[in-house]
Symmetry: C2
Subunit: 365 residues, 2 copies
């Protein structure tokens, strides 16, 4: 029986609560599945600052390097608003992404028919929505140098950030998008602000050239990032795969996620380059939602995005497609049976706790 | 009788069509108003490239410098997709903003009750929506240096853009937001990505310090730009004045505009610093919508955003508040009478042409 190593990083806020449901499903998989899991645990974000003075320790980074996959809950909260910039909770997440080389962030925005009424958009505009945002995750303004605040004297300071993209970084993320589009509708929209940014000009050129050379059968359209934000709100179902840079991907994927009306439902995967020999990719899976400090500790968070992230891990990191399908069907069944955490309940509808929702998924398994 | 000088730059696409309706209203104002207008005309965008080889000529820049206000239609279109980056149509608009020092871009997102059904959001979430986005317009990644593509050899290129903000730039735009909030709900949301960007850290510090020192009675909240994008989609009516940088303002104002369901209705104003002696501000007024090349030349564009931009010019540049109110009431009356251009008509509803809509506003005047 193959053994997979998995690092769990629950993080802050509702992270530990939703990760507890993952542990239940892992126990079930260990007892009933075709593979064994060797699970290790670590700290990231505010809890790591509290314990180690840094948002992720070198020891936990080593565990992440060694693991077949990392599952992360969420990081941050008002408790750490005052910590120095270099060790803020988010820096732990950014170090994981950068040091593991997780350049490809896949963010599905799927609207479950059962939950379409939770969207702020009219039902007919979002029911059946199935967008996949492919966001570049290790480049752009997130990591470019210089990135600093300079004291100019006279009470004036200057804040500087640098957006940098090299051809190879654009090519490898576009390749991921084109490959995924082939398995889906065969349509890709690439987005930047080439009318204002030189990195956008290079992005546009590079994606177009790669398309012409290697993916002529995929339909490629370019949209300026501001226009795309608009069109996502206006008529989201026209989109299938969207590929964009780190910062635009951050904004656009959050808008797309909110269209579905159920942020608590959306998982994501961040993948590195495939090892030339083993074909293994480093990978981190996490819900799209944040640490939700306002509801943390009350046992009411929705664990389904976290469980969906585990399903993605089974599929992409452990080659356990059948088990991934089974887990996703169990999630759908728990919903179909009417189980609702507070975030996805209609006004007046009865709600269940985080742990009861996890149990409903287990029962369906 | 005072004489005001006004430069009209119709631009490309539907720009000339909607500007023709402005000319009608100016003729009416000249005949019936308390002031005379000295109107000059110029070219910006693709039409200026065609005529002069540059997206705005020095002669037209001189006219813009001399005028009390500039009214602009829209720039750009597929015809100029292939022109060199330095002279693309948008560069004309960017030069006007930068050289005239128009750092404060006011973008109202208002949902007219009569048009609430045109929104993709549920009516109750947007009816009565009245957000004012105050976008910084002459700084940030739009103008920071270096901004270039470097050839690295080996077929690799590097695209670089630089986000730069100085304390004084953040202070002057925040001041505009706080002053405007005092005249409205007294609430401001400031937005950046301080968890990732050093310019965001400086933005957050500077806005907070200015608030504490000079505007303690205004209620200030900070939202990360990605979270704000989400919340705009989820529950937009919680917002009143939003202040943010050039790039986030570009994205967020487009999302906010689309929430209203009627982009063809939204005007905007871009203002410079007040002259210490005359108190005059340089100003440019333009619709939020673009040049819409797909419908250009067909006489079906909605002229109301352009006419609304004229109303803003009357109010902010010419001290003609009564005439501005009158024009805005005439716009509302034309709508109340059921006149609808194609973009704001319900399926099956009869539509009017650009010029018939302008005539309806004139008749109401
Ligand atoms: C927490 C933060 C640094 C992060 C980002 O900006 O990438 C988050 O918003 C996300 O989208 O994963
Ligand atoms: C045309 C373009 C350069 C411009 C911008 O990005 O600022 C436009 O999108 C806008 O918002 O006015």
């Amino acid at each position: 029986m193959p053994t997979h190593t998995l690092l769990l990083l629950p993080g802050d806020g509702i992270g530990p609560e939703v990760m507890a449901e993952v542990e239940k499903v892992l126990a079930w998989l260990g007892a009933n599945g075709p593979a064994a899991f060797e699970v290790t645990r670590g700290l990231v974000g505010g809890c790591a600052i509290d314990a180690h003075g840094v948002p992720v320790s070198d020891a936990d980074m080593a565990k992440a390097e060694a693991a077949d996959a990392v599952l992360l809950g969420a990081v941050g909260g008002p408790k750490w608003d005052g910590v120095p910039y270099e060790i803020r909770p988010e820096a732990g997440l950014l170090r994981l992404r950068k040091d593991l080389g997780l350049f490809a962030n896949l963010r599905p925005a799927i609207c479950h028919a059962a939950l379409a009424d939770a969207s702020s958009l009219k039902r007919e505009l979002v029911e059946g929505l199935d967008i996949l945002i492919v966001r570049e995750l290790t480049g752009g303004v997130y990591f470019g140098e210089p990135k600093q605040i300079v004291d100019l004297g006279n009470g004036q300071k200057r804040g500087i950030d640098t957006q940098v993209y090299d051809t190879y970084e654009i090519e490898r993320i576009a390749r991921v998008a084109f490959e995924l589009a082939r398995l889906r509708s065969g349509r890709v929209v690439s987005s930047e602000k080439r009318n204002v940014m030189m990195s956008g000009v290079l992005w546009h050129q590079t994606v177009s050239a790669l398309h012409a050379r290697h993916y002529p059968e995929v339909q490629l359209r370019h949209e300026l990032a501001d226009a795309l934000g608009m069109k996502l709100v206006q008529a989201p179902k026209q989109f299938d795969v969207i590929v964009t840079d780190n910062l635009f991907g951050d904004m656009l994927s959050d808008v797309a996620a909110m269209l579905t009306g159920s942020l608590g439902m959306l998982p994501s995967a961040s993948l590195g380059e495939a090892d030339p020999v083993t074909k293994r990719r480093k990978a981190l899976y996490e819900p799209v939602h944040g640490s939700a400090p306002d509801i943390a500790g009350r046992g009411i968070a929705n664990p389904l995005a976290m469980l969906g992230s585990l399903a993605m891990a089974l599929r992409y990191s452990f080659d356990m497609g059948a088990e991934a399908d089974r887990l996703e069907r169990a999630i759908a069944q728990a919903l179909a049976e009417g189980h609702r955490t507070a975030d996805i309940a209609r006004p007046g509808e009865p709600t269940v706790s985080t742990s009861a929702m996890g149990d409903a998924v287990l029962a369906a398994l």
